[in-house]
Symmetry: C2
Subunit: 168 residues, 2 copies
């Protein structure tokens, strides 16, 4: 058996920490190439896909939403107005601080908590367990991987170890 | 609390099923555009990234490895010689059959099982829980997302719902 806490908070914290390190490499790459930062921040893999900045925003949204909803806490509100690497780093940092503020006991029993997500046209209802396994985890990894892929496609030197994080 | 089975087998089965549907759309797209299938099968996002076929091979490798190692069963051996959409579909299908063959009781207690992964230069040792959360899940979503991104980048009409699968 796994606790919901162990399956939620440390993995989210870990992948956001890795994303932060990936973005530092991206910023250094832009500087080395003497490219304006907004070129990478607005890069996307196809015309109707989200750019890098939005990928980071969604990965953090999903993470704070998961921690708050499973703990029955209020979801921190962000303004979604980041336009620089520094602002994205600040967003990642405050999300990690929020994840750290959640105590394991707050998530006890949350696997059966009813979770409702309001989408544009519909509400999605999940048990806490389904919310975590079918929504949060795939979505967060999707957006962090897409951020990684946008940067790799633009030549930033990254390897899968940057995505997975330090072996320990 | 979550069972290791619930956190492993249904999510892997779900994402591989979604990948199968995504590849069907990719094949149909190639046919509509009158493009040889190998163009998509060998497409990659950057020169030193793996192409689509390899992404599918790794996602399935990670999945069969996870199910077998956590269950203490033998890992099915594949020849890794797929060169067509039909062969990739067969690989996904047989991986799903293998996941289906694993019984929940085979995974009971596997969170503390010692798992060793032999990499090129080193062995990685994990508890079953860390193997699942720090290795299998991030890796599988990484490779399925990258397959999706390769196809999106090449114009295949997909949305995140194709990645997440049916809402139920």
């Amino acid at each position: 058996m796994l606790s919901i806490y162990d399956a939620t908070i440390p993995p989210l914290k870990r992948i956001l920490t890795n994303l932060s390190a990936i973005l530092k490499k991206a910023e250094a790459y832009a500087d080395t190439k003497k490219v304006e930062h907004h070129v990478l921040l607005n890069a996307r893999l196809f015309v109707d896909m989200y750019p890098l900045t939005r990928q980071v925003q969604i990965a953090t949204d999903m993470s704070k939403g998961a921690a708050a909803r499973l703990a029955g806490a209020e979801i921190p509100k962000y303004e979604d107005n980041e336009t620089t690497f520094a602002e994205l780093q600040a967003r990642l940092a405050k999300t990690i601080v929020f994840l750290d503020s959640i105590k394991p006991e707050q998530l006890v029993g949350s696997e059966t908590r009813e979770i409702t997500i309001a989408l544009r046209n519909t509400d999605l209802k999940f048990s806490g367990q389904d919310y975590l396994l079918k929504w949060v985890i795939p979505n967060v990894y999707f957006h962090v991987t897409t951020a990684y892929n946008i940067l790799r496609h633009n030549g930033v030197e990254l390897g899968k170890q940057d995505f997975l994080g330090p072996r320990n």
